[in-house]
Amino acid sequence: MPSVNNLLNRLPHSAQVLHDSQMSDTATRRDEPARPTAMPIRLIDEKGAAVRGKRADGFEVPADDVLLSLYRKMVVARRFDTQVTALTRQGRLATYPSALGQEACEIAAVSALAEDDWLFPTYRDTIAILTRGVPPTQILSFFRGDWHAGYDSIEQRMAPQATPLATQALHAVGLATAAKLKGESTAALAFLGDGSTSEGDAHEAFNFAAVWQAPVVFVIQNNQYAISVPLSRQTHARTLADKAIGYGMPGYYVDGNDVAAMYAVISAALDRAHSGGGPTLIEGITYRMEAHTNSDDPTRYRTASETAEWQTHDPIDRIEKYLTKSGTLTPAIAEEITGEAEALAATTRDAMNETPILDPLELFDHVYENQRPSLIEQREFLARELASAESGS
């Protein structure tokens, strides 16, 4: 059983560094964790061509069947996302933070996970949860406002979607550490937004993960904005991936609209996690094409031309081009995928057009595992009130 405090590859204690003033400047450099590259790692460019050489940083384009599967999921997920945005505009949901434009990050991450791995999503990552197999109604009951969490976290190995920013990153580190302590190979993957990296909890999560060498992968979806606030007001660093250096963990700066690159880098990080290699920090450069949520007004803080420009870097476009060129994506398959996407959209519409039956008395039933008398009293109070409203009407 590995020890949480058995630190691998520790540097010589700084005391020792001090002792030997004859030491050469490089003598203390060890095999350092991978540092983020100068340019974002990219495997497939906007024209659908494979990228090799330095820009690929040693990573390889995944096989066509893997890419086709990623493509399929992205298309389906996007259709779902636009459907949910539409339903929200129609008032079916209380709110919906769209991931339109971020499909490469979302789908790559969730597809790279092993079955036993855990995902720690935010409010932004609904399509990742969908892609991992949760039925739309269960996911959307949160945004519809039925209850706070709609799917079975334990069964699905996915935490409820986190709203308080960066808090979930610590949960991921804890869970990964527990797995490590139990000698199991489960890893955890936590999504974070660019803005969330400013929170103290993000720092504590990165640091605990590195010190405990927890099998966790942090995927920062740098979609350029935290609501209205651009990245330049969030950090002065060259990249968010550079933060990895300050924790002594590997960091990767990746083209987040390139699903091949995201998948390759995240898979490698998960491999490392599964085999005791500790945590990884990955930044995917992407863009939120939609408003922050339906109640946001992006015209107040960004230009239409900026959004249009990003449209040319669409994550689905380029993989579509690549797979079409390679002959893997045939018109027949494309049609089949569209059919799948439309079917899901229809199911989702139908599900959201139903009015859920909610029991207000359930409000009192889950506050504690050990129910307390005062809550039973309050439950009875509400029951009486509901009954008298019923009889009164």
């Binding site: 949160f142 920013l165 409000l363 005062s374 809550l375 309050q378 509400l382």
Partner: protein, 336 residues
């Protein structure tokens, strides 16, 4: 909403204004009057805040006076403290109630204590604006009522307006105060309109206000529940029950004088708030009013509050929030 007699009748230039609009005006006027007033927080710049309370100020004053900070609440309050030590008067925004919790240590251990620990040598004229409470169908963590955490913390002044006139006047006074002020904004009431001529000076922010006079019961409310109390009073009057409604306005300090006088007159009182009941602000109100007026009380002080559960999801919040009907039903539980 019935306005109090003590509030001046709307002047000739009175125009309809919302609580949000009155807050914007207060910020604008304070920034105009004093170059040391600065505003920062998450999305308060070009966006104007998620509730648009800082709408237009960024264009008007530029980014040396109002700007978007990095996304970190402890950072926002912590840097505001440093700025105040250098003579500024920061007004910072916590985007939603529950998102003030990362700043809890900076607020309780520093903001609240600096004046005391330095024997007043360092004053922290800081306003922490917090949109609070429910009623807008927000998903989890967007509807908390956090007032009891702040009111239990010595060193803080905690106030909450319930109408546009007070929103303006109290925010101006909070910004002008040399004590740190937690300024709770009832988010479900942001869009309530009154005819108001700005600038307006209402009662001092530390005073409660009798909004409606009555002789049988004193209903104490603040922020979002003031409307509930007024509705209940209206309904009750039909049944011949005369209810006095007091808008507490200031949660810390508590205006013992105004409330005491009312309770001595009515001999019955109830407090209404959205926060959970256990250890909620109503506990202090009930305890201290009982302590002081025990022999005037004909019945125990009632607390009509949220349940002792986390704030519900949007579709269930109506069952949680105190309503006028629930208030009246509660008054019925007294032996009369």
């Amino acid at each position: 909403m019935t306005m109090t007699q003590s509030r001046p009748a709307a002047a000739a230039s009175a125009t309809p204004i919302t609580i949000a609009g009155a807050l914007t005006a207060a910020l604008r006027d304070a920034m105009t009057d004093d170059p040391n007033v600065v505003v920062f927080g998450e999305d308060v710049g070009p966006l104007g805040g998620v509730f648009r309370v800082t709408d237009g100020l960024s264009r008007e004053f530029g980014d040396k006076r109002i700007w978007d900070s990095p996304l970190a609440e402890a950072g926002i309050v912590g840097t505001a403290i440093g700025m105040a030590m250098y003579g500024m008067r920061p007004v910072v925004e916590m985007q939603f109630d529950a998102f003030s919790y990362p700043a809890f240590e900076q607020i309780t251990s520093h903001l609240a204590k600096m004046h005391n620990r330095t024997k007043g040598r360092i004053t922290l004229p800081i306003v922490v604006r917090i949109p609070y409470a429910g009623g807008i169908g927000g998903v989890e963590h967007h509807s908390d009522s956090s007032e009891a955490y702040w009111t239990h913390t010595p060193g803080l002044t905690v106030v909450t307006p319930s109408n546009p006139s007070d929103a303006y006047s109290m925010l101006r006074e909070a910004i002008a105060s040399d004590d740190p002020v937690i300024f709770l904004e009832p988010k479900s009431r942001y869009w309530v309109k009154d005819d108001v001529a700005l600038p307006i000076h209402t009662l001092p922010m530390t005073k409660a206000e009798v909004l409606r006079e009555g002789s049988d019961v004193t209903l104490l409310a603040y922020g979002p529940t003031v409307k509930t109390a007024m509705q209940a009073a209206e309904l009750a009057s039909v049944e011949g029950l005369s209810i006095e409604v007091i808008d507490l306005r200031s949660l810390s300090p508590f205006d013992d004088e105004t409330v005491g006088a009312s309770v001595r007159k009515t001999s019955r009182a109830a407090i209404i708030h959205e926060a959970a009941q256990f250890g909620g602000y109503g506990a202090e109100v009930a305890a201290r009013v009982t302590e002081r007026q025990f022999f005037y009380l004909a019945a125990p002080i009632l607390r009509i509050t949220g349940f002792d559960i986390p704030f519900p999801a949007p579709k269930l919040e109506e069952h949680y929030l105190p309503t006028a009907e629930r208030v009246l039903a509660a008054l019925d539980t007294w032996e009369w």
